[in-house]
Point group: C2
Chain length 342, copies 2
DNA sequence: CTGAAAGCGCTTACAG
DNA sequence: CTGAAAGCGCTTACAG
């Protein structure tokens, strides 16, 4: 119930240690030109008084030591693995990550990025942003930026980290063909807008490439789901009840594949006998094991660590862009395995 | 490739509108004592120049318009429903929510809260914090605070919002008894430390109360799982393979209940015939429908909206604490339904 | 109603 | 090596 204690500032420390505020500031930043004796005196006072630098004030002149993390879907179970990697990569750097949720619409995402810049954040990592490349580029000119899961191989204003989504799709299709599927459909998600080069678009491109040899027109073989689970479920049911229903399904995410399991079970279709299913992300390594969902493994942790490192080096001054691409790996499980020779 | 554009500040706007910086500041904050004419002139300039206030600078004197959200588990599918509510409750208030992840250890959580205070955040909402009440109280004296999922009915330094966890546990046990279970076990989670009054502890208390009439010593009927899924799975297997395995299982969360489904399926136990299972949170309303998991419904959205409102009113000056408690509701599904008369 | 000035807690040239 | 002073972009009494 006592009023807020008066904050310990650089000035309090300076008085206690009997030095100038400039000296304290230098010790704080490990700046050059402070004697060992002074450093010790100041550090002792900081310790004693429990001094903590005031980030807002630091931000006015120098850095805030804050990194903004932008994401759009708290419900996507793949994303936490990315964040684990980011946290790990930032550990010990002195930069505090803070997460903003864009909620999947472009205006909200723009507002959020502006909010982060206004708060003087030192760098931004965006995970699967909805914004098109040009918009991101504008922001990237204001603040060091690294993008995860958004392909921009020729961009030089910011860095990117990705898994090769085209490759993943090609591998999945090849596997389904090998398993004897003749009517393969991709369960994709509606793109927020045409120009966006996100991972889903890339997977569609890879799918179309790999489907080249089949009779069907590739574009007929792609079905676009929605952002909300209920509408997507309806769509899946319609697809599975069609007379010419697919015998092989390539799902853009394990989340959607799970919905396919549910719908198939309720309709009475067997997996993999009636429909072979391949998911993406390898999310449910353990949890859904009885399902045995085949999936493309692409550890988010790797993305996160790489993104954090790229961002830190950019904050430290690097200006040429870097674009990392890792390769996903198909993990075959029961949901797509029809032959026994694997 | 042009250098960062010079930032538009309050001063730029003042010059453009030909007024003082003080005037601009007043317009910005909708402060009293500005003529209509001046307000319009200033707003026109702000619009024209694309002015956005600099939060770090504002924070040095007034507010940063930033709310810190603290949570510990990005993987818990219940939490996003809480955040949805918080976002909704904050909408239009001008306060920007930013999320920090404590990663389940007390030192990290403390560091995170300090980081938020150092960044001059105007208020904090903590979801299921690991810290004991006294520590939270210390922070709450520095910054308006609202706690979700942490019972502190007598606390007056901060507000709380909860569902009645004791009640939920009692209802679950009564239901299992009604279904003919004689050997009921609670699958709980290890408490981070003794003094913490979190939702799990409350559920254990409710469980023990409701078990009072049974022969078994209640404390024997509580099994403590771990934070990592793998260890918990081992524990569940051991439990299900015991000669005197339970015929009724009350799980502290739906996540754990899902693991029970997996283990039971692999061991060859039928649900609900061999074991009736009740979960908590009603997380998988749709996704796991074939499982038909009975669960306690406690919409996180309600918690979030209420917390946001309490925090805003506290920021506006309220000083007496408020403690909201909602009631959970048991949703009975196939996993616990042995008789047909419901 | 309007504005000049001090100050929030830091950092950064710049003297000494 | 050390420190006085200006300044970052705002807000807040306080005069006019």
């Amino acid at each position: 119930m006592t009023g807020r204690a008066k904050r310990v500032t650089i000035r309090t420390v300076a008085e206690d240690a009997d030095v100038s505020v400039a000296a304290v500031s230098k010790v704080l930043r490990n700046s050059y030109g402070v004697s060992e004796r002074m450093r010790e005196k100041v550090q002792a006072s900081m310790q004693k008084l429990g001094y903590r630098p005031h980030s807002a004030a630091r931000g006015l002149r120098g850095k805030t030591f804050t990194i903004g993390l932008l994401q759009n879907d708290l419900r996507n179970p793949y994303l936490p693995t990315i964040f684990d990697g980011i946290f790990k990569g930032l550990e010990g750097s002195g930069f505090q990550p803070l997460l903003g949720v864009g909620q999947s619409t472009e205006p909200l995402e723009t507002a959020l990025i502006n909010a982060m810049i206004d708060r003087q954040m030192d760098g931004l990592i965006m995970v699967a942003p909805r914004l098109p490349g040009e918009k991101i580029e504008q922001f990237a000119r204001e603040v060091p930026t690294c993008i995860i899961a958004h392909h921009h191989p020729d961009e030089d204003a910011f860095d990117t980290v990705n898994f090769d989504d085209k490759l993943g799709a090609r591998v999945a299709v090849r596997h389904l063909i090998e398993q004897g599927c003749h009517n393969i459909v991709m369960l994709s998600q509606a793109l927020p807008e045409p120009g966006v080069s996100n991972v889903i678009q890339q997977r569609e491109l890879g799918f179309i490439e790999a489907m080249g040899g089949l009779n069907k027109r590739p574009s007929d073989a792609i079905v676009h789901g929605f952002f909300d689970a209920a509408s997507t479920e309806t769509l899946i049911r319609e697809l599975l009840l069609k007379p010419d229903r697919p015998d092989g399904l390539f799902c853009w995410s394990d989340m959607v594949a799970t919905q396919v399991f549910v719908a198939a079970a309720e309709i009475g279709l067997r997996i993999p006998e009636d429909i072979a299913v391949v998911g993406y992300d390898n999310t449910y390594d353990d949890q859904l094991r009885p399902f045995g969902l085949s999936s493309l493994n692409q550890p988010g942790y790797k993305l996160g660590v790489a993104a954090a490192q790229l961002l830190l080096s950019r904050i430290e001054g690097r200006s040429e862009a870097e674009h990392k691409v890792f390769s996903p790996e198909l993990i075959v499980r029961g949901s797509s395995l029809r032959s026994d020779d694997t």
